[in-house]
Symmetry: C2
Subunit: 312 residues, 2 copies
């Protein structure tokens, strides 16, 4: 089954303690598609300007990402420039030039409107809502958001919650949106607004998936080198949605698996600049990392404490 993603296609300039990259391909939809393409056909809707090196998207097309929804508009592409210091968990934005992205009105091509899995990457919640008016009964709709929208369009974000099955957001955003410091309370608040699943991303500290009846946690993979954290969250979402589209199954067990696949793809994304590693990673490497995730948390319960001799 296919996944539709609507989001940004950008040019990023990034500085990390390990090096720098100038005007490399980035954007939420790009990272998402790069990760998801390992699992399912992807349909991408976004916008680029005249300056975009569209050649650099060819490897995505070759991997089954349908770029028919990528609008080419007069003007400059969305450009982001940022820096990470030693705390690789938070980026310092040095410059954001929205360019053509500021006029982005997503138009979902006819051929994309029946995508069973839809991911609304981090864009204006009104546009996210508008996309939902253009698609036909997807099996699962997920969205992302960010602090900027929570501050400036809080009511729209909350209205969107009533229309999606799942939301991914980071811990700071969850606290900001819900005005609750405790993540369990924050997740419950969000679940009451509509979604059946809330995924709270904690960067290098892993991710929680909350439903009304269960909580799942996947650690971040303990990498020896986080090279560039840009795109980790969207790569997580790409792995997550890609796995669901590949398997077509929405059981609790399969959503847990999807979180781990997402965590694996997020961990690959940060090993190199841009989407480099997401393009080079092999299916065997993905399987290997998923196995390592399982080993990382595996333990067997011993004899119960209750009623046992304590050896006194």
């Amino acid at each position: 089954m296919s996944v539709l993603v609507v989001g940004s296609v950008a040019l990023d300039s990034v500085e990390t303690p390990f090096g720098r990259a100038d005007s490399v391909i980035g954007g939420s939809a790009t990272y998402f598609a790069s990760a998801a393409s390992h699992f399912a056909p992807v349909q991408l809707v976004g916008i680029v300007g005249e300056d975009y090196p569209v050649d650099k998207l060819k490897p995505l097309a070759a991997r089954g990402v349908d770029l028919a929804g990528l609008e080419h508009a007069p003007g400059e592409s969305f450009r982001w420039r940022g820096r990470y210091r030693h705390d690789l968990n938070s980026a310092e934005t040095l410059e954001t030039r929205l360019g053509v992205f500021s006029h982005f009105r997503p138009k979902i091509p006819e051929a994309f409107r029946r995508a069973p899995f839809v991911f609304l990457a981090n864009i204006d919640p009104r546009l996210q809502m508008d996309v939902l008016g253009q698609v036909e009964r997807p099996r699962l709709v997920a969205c992302d958001t960010m602090n900027f929208w929570i501050e400036s369009r809080r009511n729209d974000v909350i209205a969107l919650l009533g229309r999606v099955d799942l939301i991914t957001l980071n811990d700071g955003e969850a606290r900001q949106l819900t005005e609750r410091t405790n993540l369990v309370h924050a997740a419950r608040w969000i679940l009451e607004k509509g979604p059946r699943y809330v995924i709270v991303k904690k960067g290098e500290h892993g991710a929680f998936m909350f439903t009304k009846t269960s909580t799942f946690f996947a650690p971040a993979y303990p990498l020896e080198q986080v090279f560039d954290p840009t795109g980790a969250g969207d790569s997580f979402a790409g792995g997550f949605m890609g796995h669901l589209a590949r398997t077509g199954e929405l059981s609790d067990a399969n959503l847990r698996r999807a979180v781990v696949v997402g965590s694996a793809m997020g961990s690959f994304a940060v090993e190199r600049f841009s989407n480099e590693r997401l393009l080079s990673v092999t299916p065997a490497e993905i399987d290997q990392r998923i196995a390592e995730f399982q080993d990382l948390v595996a333990f067997e319960r011993g004899a119960p404490v209750a009623g046992a001799a304590t050896g006194r």
Copy 2:
């Protein structure tokens, strides 16, 4: 088998967003013993002043904590006053009065010297080393430390690493001691200095256990209310060492289980002020929480990605 703990027995005054407690029993050895006593006999070595409400330790004695090594000295007991704001991960120390603790020279009673499990709680590394000269070939020695000793007695901390099997420290301390920001690198640095196991505690973000050949991670339990984080780390250590002493088994699988038991005890500790909850928790509640930990991270691997049809 029994566990020997050497550390502080203090009076804490704590303020959290949820309330305050004045001069309640605290200290690393107290928390450790309260947690460990659910699993094994505990032998405690510490020091208190004339003002200590020793009656309040009776519940510990009743739970099998041998207080024969608790020295009563003229003067004031160790008192700590601190505050937690909304970030419950870090305490703000308002006042520390060492009192008799500043003259603490641990004397291990004859009857405690053959304890098979020894925990050197956070005290001067020279005193920790001195304790090791007083005990006879324990099966496992673990130690804790803190930023203060890493700053002021770094060489002693490093020397101690050559004499212990395991060290617990928090992520900030691991980075400070090793001068490496990446935790995998930090853990490897420590393992090269001697210990077979390094446990890196990340507060509400869980704990890693590193060995030369494997990495294990246990999340923190997603509590709905963290009431008072004081003592979580020592309660973790108490659960960990208590489980090892109860089972007497040092396999990798059993150490993983011990990390989960430790995480469970840490999660109980923070539900109330002082050691209140550690004293009231039942074996059935402990088993229940361990089961919840297992459910929290459980997932089954699906069909491999490699060689699978992607549904294109």
